[in-house]
Each structure stands twice: as C-alpha cells, then as structure tokens.
C-alpha cells in the first residue's frame, strides 16, 4: 500500500509540474500560432533566417515559461549559522532571525535575452550588415538619400495614429519604427522605448519585411504611370576605393555628432563597412558577416520570440500594432514613391520613381521589388543597382529616425 501511495504521489508531482496543469489556454493558442509561423518559415520561406528562430522561441516559452524566468533568491530560515543546511550558501541575519539564501537560477533564454534587453544584439547585427553592404550606388548617386529619408515619413505618421489609438508616446514610437522595415532597428528602439511590446513589434516587423513583394507592388503601380515605370536610368558612375573608404568614416562622424542616439546602430554599421572597404582586415570582415552575425541571429531570434508568451501577446493591443505596422509600411512605400515622382519631374524624367519604394530598407528585397516592377513595363530595364542606392540610404535613414524617436520620446 505504501508503495502504491508513493507511486501515485510521484505521478501527481510529475503531473503538477508538467505543462498539462500549468499552461493556460493562451499558451495553447500561442503554440498554434508558433506552429503556423514555423510553417511559413520552412514551407513558404518567409524570412526563414529570423522567422524560424522567432517562432521556435515562441513555441518554447509557451511550452515551458520557466525558460524565460528571471533568477531569484528564497530566504530559508535556520536556527544557527552552523546549520548543516546552510553549508555552501550565503547566510544573512535580518533582525534576530538567521536565513540562508537559496538561489534559483534564471531560464536559459533569460540570460540570452540580456543581449536584447541591453541593446547589444541589434548593433552587432548591424556590424555584419555593414560588412555585406556596398554603399557604392549611394555614393555614385547621393540624391538617393532623399528617397531614403522620404520613406521614413511613414514612421512619424504612424506615430500619430498610435497616439490616437491610445498608446503612450514611447509605445507609439516603437510601433512607428516598424515602418522603417529594418528588424534590428525596430528591436533596438522597442527595447529602449516599450520592451513589453517587443514580441508583437518584432513579429510584425519581420512579417511585413517578408511580405515586401506582396505589399509594395500594388502601391507602386497605383502611384505611378506606365510612362514613369518604364524610365531607363543612366548607368551609375564608377566609385573609387578611396571614396568607399571615406564614406563610413564621414557618415559616423556626422551622425554621431548631430544625433548621438543613433550612434550605436550607425557606428556599428559603418565599422562593418569599413572592415569591408578597407580590404586590410578580411578575416575580421568575414567573421563579422558570417560567424558573428549567424550566432547573434540565433540568439536574437529565439529570445525575441520568447518574449511572446500567451499573456503578453494575446491582447487587443497586438492586433492594433499589427494593423499600425502595416500602415507604417505602406506609408513608407508611398512616400518613397511620391518623392521619386518629385525627383522624376525635377530631373526631366531621368529618375524612375519606382526606386523610391526601396527607401524602406528591407535590403535587398525592396530593391529587387523595384527591379521586378520596372521590368514588367520594360523587360530591358535594370533598376536593381539604382534601387540599391535608396535601399541602403533607407538603412541609414531608419537609424537616424530611430535616433530621433529615442531622443524625442525616450
């Protein structure tokens, strides 16, 4: 009988600590959502490099919430300082009572999440992006920066929408940055302004970035004429190595002086680019764009996904964020195109307005969309390199916009 009772108690203990008794309905909904995201990442290949770890982090935290639990300490009362139970523990005396500290370590993802919380991972991702980015098209045609700036207007317009929907200024700033279509920037700003919204904002940002080829073309076609879309642009001038080496140094000096809040992102982006363009630190450049970037991508994706626990994510605010994120993205695309049209008029038809949509960052997907839509009108038209100018300008522009938001509402 005693054996049977012991057995039943053990089974009850296992049941009580298992997910079957501890998980709520929200967790099960989130498990279903994460499985749907895994399907999109694996089968549809929507931004799989980030969506897959994000979805898996979401799955893990909803199966086992303790994986994101913060460390804590339990004080256990003892009679004397020499109590054998206190051996190896810190002993404290509060009043007349003696306690020993029984530490409970945090979950695995809690520790990895500190890189997100402290704003370490996004700038390191920017370091790798800098190593992979060629600013040549932007240096050859600096006017591209206007398009990169125009596409950021969506961020500030969405800020207004979020304020009117009842979000605080910090939350509105974090939601607006989705319009920059730049994942690391969105995560960086959100961790500083509204960390409790990180899961929903990161998922919205990466989902829309994956959906660029679906979201942008209808807006591009609606805002341009057939004649404008068929414009063939002049070949860009070759850019010398010296110009490419000077570019990151000049940009970082300028932006760090005028907008110090953008310095961590822009600084790392430009450091990576200098690694690449200088040609003297090939080993470091390769490490930054391969090993380092891949490792950080894993940590960033899994831990950002792990912030989307059922109770945090399943709120009306998440739906509002997803809707506002889409508006931000569409507005960014539209303003880029509209400024492209202005430049088309001012240059006497030499600029194809389609390259304006690439100003929303999302490198290189947005530039590829400009190329694709342009080729639909004129199969002999190659806009890819022209669109890369506004595309990389958008990366700088969204980092500058992030700096403005951190300064204004941070």
């Amino acid at each position: 009988m005693e054996i049977l009772t012991g057995f039943l108690n053990a089974i009850m203990g296992i049941y009580k600590s298992s997910g079957l008794s501890t998980l709520g309905w929200q967790n099960y909904v989130m498990i279903a959502i994460s499985c749907a995201l895994l399907y999109l990442a694996i089968k549809k290949q929507y931004e799989p490099l980030l969506l897959l770890p994000i979805a898996f982090g979401m799955l893990l935290v909803n199966l086992y919430p303790g994986i994101m639990a913060a460390p804590d300490i339990t004080l256990v009362q003892i009679a004397t300082k020499d109590d054998p139970a206190a051996v190896g523990h810190v002993v404290r005396t509060i009043g007349d009572t003696i306690y020993y500290e029984d530490p409970h370590y945090g979950g695995l993802l809690y520790y990895l999440y500190q890189g997100v919380k402290l704003g370490i991972y996004p700038p390191l991702i920017f370091l790798g992006i800098g190593c992979m980015t060629d600013f040549g098209p932007l240096i050859a045609n600096p006017k591209s920066l206007i398009l990169g700036a125009a596409a950021q207007i969506g961020i500030f317009v969405t800020f207004t929408g979020a304020i009117f929907l009842g979000f605080t200024a910090s939350e509105a700033g974090a939601i607006g940055i989705i319009g920059g279509a730049d994942g690391p920037t969105a995560i960086y700003v959100t961790t500083k302004l509204a960390p409790h919204l990180l899961g929903s904002i990161a998922i919205a940002a990466y989902s829309y970035m994956a959906l660029v080829p679906i979201i942008q073309p209808p807006i591009m076609k609606a805002l341009t004429t057939k004649k404008e879309r068929a414009v063939v642009m002049e070949q860009l001038r070759p850019v010398s190595k010296l110009e490419k080496i000077l570019f990151p140094i000049i940009v970082v000096i300028l932006i760090a002086i005028f907008l110090p809040d953008a310095a961590p992102l822009v600084g790392m982006l430009m450091l990576g680019n200098l690694f690449k363009e200088s040609g003297v630190v090939d080993r470091i450049a390769k490490a930054a764009q391969n090993e380092l970037m891949n490792i950080i991508t894993i940590f960033l994706g899994v831990t950002v996904g792990a912030t989307a626990s059922g109770t945090n994510f399943l709120k009306l605010d998440t739906l509002k964020i997803i809707a506002l994120g889409l508006i931000a993205f569409c507005m960014g695309t539209a303003f880029g195109i509209l400024f492209g049209k202005i430049m088309y008029k001012l240059t006497g038809g030499k600029i194809n307005p389609l390259i304006g949509s690439a100003g929303v960052s999302a490198v290189p997907m947005a530039a590829r969309v400009s190329q694709k839509v342009g080729q639909q009108e004129n199969p002999g038209n190659f806009l890819l390199m022209h669109a890369m100018g506004p595309n990389v300008a958008g990366v700088i522009g969204s980092a500058v916009a992030a700096g403005v938001l951190l300064n204004v509402v941070g």
Partner: protein
C-alpha cells in the same frame, strides 16, 4: 521647446484630449521630418564635396601618369614603330568570345584611356561550384 521637452507627452499621454494629442504628435512629426531630412541633406552635400575632391585628386594623378607615359612613348616611337600586338587568346576560345570581351572592356573604360587586351585565358576552376551558386543567387533579378 527643447527636443527632450517633448518627452512630457509620455507622462501626460493618457490624460490628453484629442486636440492635445494632435498637437503633440504634430510636434513629433515636424521634429522627425526636419531632423531626418536635415541630416540626410547634409550627408548629400558632404558626399558630393568629398567625391569631387577625391575625383580631382585622382584625375590630377592620372593626368600626370598619362603625361609621363606619353613622354616615354615618344622616346620609343623615335627608335621604332611597333604595331599593337594581337591579344594572345588561349586555344579553344572562339573569335566571337574575344570580340565580346574586347567590346565589354571598351564599354567599361571608354573615355578614360585606351585599353589594350594583352591576353585572354580561361578562368577554369578558379571559383568553386558553391561560389558560383552564391554569385548567381546574389546577382539574379528578383
């Protein structure tokens, strides 16, 4: 009002009326618009300026090199007149391919100098299949 002053919005956000929300968000839009465009316009000016300086420096260096080369050529042409040698094309490379390579080189360097092709060799095996796949992946249109 200083930029930092606008952060007062956050504290007051929940108690603000619709009109106040409109005014405060207009301030953020205006600040964002002006700062982002100012920084990027400044960047345009600086890029143009340093590009002009760099190209001037480099064209100065190039013209000096050209001068030196022209002087050397003169000395050589006094002693003998030599016809430009035919490009040494490796066996198995058709004439059409040689013509296409010559045309591509001319279109790339046209105006800057008179390029001369000395030899044409098959690259064969210098790039692995994986590297080729990477190049194709990165250069194909969307």
């Amino acid at each position: 009002m200083s930029i930092h002053g606008i952060s007062a919005i956050q504290a007051a956000a929940e108690s603000m009326t619709m009109g106040e929300r409109g005014i405060e968000s207009a301030k953020v839009i205006l600040t964002g618009f002006v700062v982002v465009f100012s920084v990027l316009f400044l960047l345009i000016g600086i890029i143009k300026l340093y590009s002009a300086i760099v190209s001037k420096l480099q064209s100065g260096g190039e013209s000096r090199k050209k001068k030196d080369a022209a002087q050397k050529k003169k000395v050589v042409s006094v002693s003998r007149t030599v016809a430009a040698p035919e490009p040494q094309a490796e066996d198995g490379i058709p004439e059409e391919v040689v013509a296409v390579i010559a045309a591509a080189v001319m279109s790339l360097y046209a105006g800057a100098s008179k390029p001369r092709i000395k030899s044409i060799k098959k690259a064969g095996g210098s790039r692995s299949a994986w590297a080729n796949a990477g190049v194709i992946d990165n250069t194909r249109p969307f």
